[in-house]
Amino acid sequence: MTYSVRSATVRFGHVLALDDVTVEVPAGSVVAVVGGDGAGKSTLLRALVGEVALDSGTVEAPPKQRLGYLPASSGSWAALTVTQNIDFVAGIYGLAGDELTARRRELLDRASLTPAADRLAAQLSGGMRRKLGFVMAIVHRPELLILDEPSTGIDPVSRIDLWRLASEAAASGAAVLMSTTYLDEAERAAHLVVLDDGKILVQGSYDQVRAGFAGVVTQTAEPVRAEWAWRRGRVQREYWPSAGPPPGATTVAPDLEDIVIALSLARRNAVLS
C-alpha cells in the first residue's frame, strides 16, 4: 500500500506553503523530507495527516485508526508519567488489558525507556521525550507513520535510537515519512525529498539524487562568484551548474549537503535574475 500526496498545493493567506508537490510513501520504507525552516516540511506532513486542507491536489492516507503521528511539538503530556501517556493514547486506539501491557513493555524496552517508565514526561530529557512521543505514535501498529522533525535538537545518541526505531517500524511493514534538517539521516532513507520554499528541489534515493545532479562543485579558498559559493569547514565551495569551472580548480565529489546547497542556490539565483 503506497500512501501519497499528489500535486498538493497549500496556501496560507498569501504565502504558498506547498506548490504542486507529489510525494509517495510506500509501505516498508522510510521516506525523508529535508528542508530548512519554512520549506514546507511540516505543511506536507500535516496535509498527509489531515490537519491541513489542500487548496488543490489529493491525499491518500489511511483512516485515523491506522495512522500514527509525532508532531514537531512535544508529543507527550508533561504532567503524566511515561506509562500513563502510553496508556492514554493506547486507550483511544482501542488497546486494552493484557494486549496493552505486553505492547507497552515491548515498546518501552525497544526505546530504552523502561527505567523511566514511572517518571513524569516533563522530567525526561529532550531525547527521551521524543522517544516517548515515538512510542505513542506507534503503539497501535499504524500503517502510515508520520514523524515531524523527530530528531531536531536532540543529542546524537538519541537520534540514533530514533532512527533505529523508525527503521524497525518500516521493516515491520509500515510506511514511514519523516522530516529532518539533518542530511545524514536523509542519506540513510530509502527515498529522500528535498523541499525549498514549498517546491521540490529534487527527490529519489541518495544514489539517484547524486546521479541526477548536474554540474560541478569545486573547492577553493577564493570563490570566483560569491552568489554561487558557500563555506564548508575551512574552505569555500562553488557550484558550476553548466559553464565549466576555471581550469586548475579542484573538483570535489559532492555529498548530499553540497547538492542541497547547490540546488538551493540555483533556485535563489534563478529567481533573482
Binding site: G36, A39, T152, G153, E187, R188, W230, R234, L265
Partner: protein, 289 residues
C-alpha cells in the same frame, strides 16, 4: 587582547548529592572555535552557565577575559542561548536597538538578507532568519568572546553555512568562540573539541582525540533489515550509515556468529570510527554503570 579568554580550572558543581560538573578544566583562546560536545545531561549547559557567571561554582575557578565573570567582564561577551533570547513581539530593528542600548553599542547594520525585513516581527520570521538576528544582536558590541548554544539547530543547510561563515569570520577577527552542538558535521568545523560525559571531560583535542580508541565494523549485506534486527537483538551498539550497518567497539568474530545464527550472509570490514560512535559507547557505559 592576548591571553586566554575563557578558562575553567578544575571546576565542580554539585546540586545536593548530584554532581553536574566534575573537575573540568578547559580554556578558549583568541581566534579559535572550540566545540563542546556531549549528550543531554552531560553537564554542558551547567558548565556554560558557570563560565558566564550565571551559576556559582561549588569548587574550582572560572575566568572570563582574565577576571571573574561579573557584569564588567560580561560587557565584552556575546551570548546566544538556545532559545535565542529575542522578543517575538518586537520587530527586528526594535530587538537590535534594545540590545544595542543594553550594551551601549551602536545599532548594527542589517545584512542584505534581512534589510528588507527590518520591520517584521521576529516571531513571524523563519528560524534561520531569527538566528541571524540573534547573532547580530550578540555581535553588535564587537565582543571578544562568543558563547553559542546550539546555534544551528533546526536550520537548513544553506542557512547553516551562512551562520558558520559569521562564526568563522568572528574567529578570524580575533574573537574566541565556544559552541555547543549536536550536529557532528559541525564538530568538524571547529578548531578544537571538548567531549563531556556525565559531568566529566572525557576527551579533548582534534576529532581523532575525541574518537580515541573507539573502533567500528561495517557490515555489508543485502539483507540489511534482518541483519540490523539480529545484531540489535544481540545487544550490539548498532548504527546505520546509508544502507550499511556499523557496530561500534565490536569483535568481528562475535558479530559474524550472531549473523550466522540468524542465517544472514555478510561481509565485515573494520572502518574508522566516528564521533557519534564514541558517544554511543559512552552512553552505554553510563547506562550500565
Amino acid at each position: 587582547m592576548t591571553g586566554v579568554l575563557l578558562r575553567a580550572r578544575q571546576v565542580t558543581r554539585r546540586f545536593g548529592t548530584f554532581t553536574a560538573v566534575d573537575n573540568v578544566s578547559m580554556h578558549v583562546q583568541p581566534g579559535e572555535v572550540v566545540g563542546l560536545l556531549g549528550a543531554n545531561g552531560a553537564g554542558k549547559t551547567t558548565l556554560i552557565r558557570m563560565l558566564l557567571g550565571l551559576l556559582p561554582v561549588t569548587s574550582g575557578g572560572v575566568e572570563l577575559l582574565g577576571g571573574p565573570p561579573d557584569r564588567e567582564h560580561r560587557c565584552r561577551l556575546g551570548y546566544v542561548p538556545q532559545g535565542l533570547g529575542l522578543y517575538g513581539d518586537l520587530t527586528v530593528r526594535e530587538n537590535l536597538s534594545f540590545s544595542a542600548g543594553a550594551y551601549g553599542s551602536a545599532e548594527p547594520e542589517l545584512p542584505p538578507a534581512l534589510a528588507g525585513r527590518a520591520d517584521v516581527l521576529v516571531r513571524e520570521l523563519p528560524l534561520g532568519a531569527q538566528r541571524q538576528v540573534a547573532f547580530l544582536a550578540a555581535l553588535a558590541h564587537s565582543p571578544e568572546v562568543l558563547v553559542l548554544d546550539e546555534p544551528t539547530s533546526g536550520v537548513d543547510a544553506l542557512a547553516r553555512a551562512a551562520l558558520w561563515d559569521t562564526i568563522r569570520g568572528q574567529a578570524e577577527h580575533g574573537a574566541g568562540v565556544l559552541v555547543t552542538t549536536h550536529y557532528m558535521q559541525e564538530a568538524q568545523q571547529c578548531d578544537r573539541l571538548l567531549l563531556m560525559s556525565n559531568g566529566q571531560l572525557v576527551a579533548q583535542g582534534s576529532e581523532a582525540d575525541i574518537i580515541g580508541a573507539t573502533t567500528a565494523v561495517a557490515v555489508r549485506t543485502g539483507d540489511w533489515a534482518q541483519a540490523f534486527a539480529a545484531l540489535n537483538a544481540a545487544g550490539a551498539p548498532v548504527m546505520l550509515a546509508g544502507r550499511a550497518i556499523r557496530v561500534a567497539n565490536a569483535n568481528p568474530g562475535e558479530l559474524q556468529d550472531v549473523l550466522k545464527a540468524a542465517g544472514i550472509q555478510a561481509i565485515l570490514q573494520p572502518v574508522p570510527a566516528t564521533i557519534e560512535e564514541r558517544m554511543l559507547v559512552l552512553a552505554r557505559e553510563a547506562g550500565s554503570s
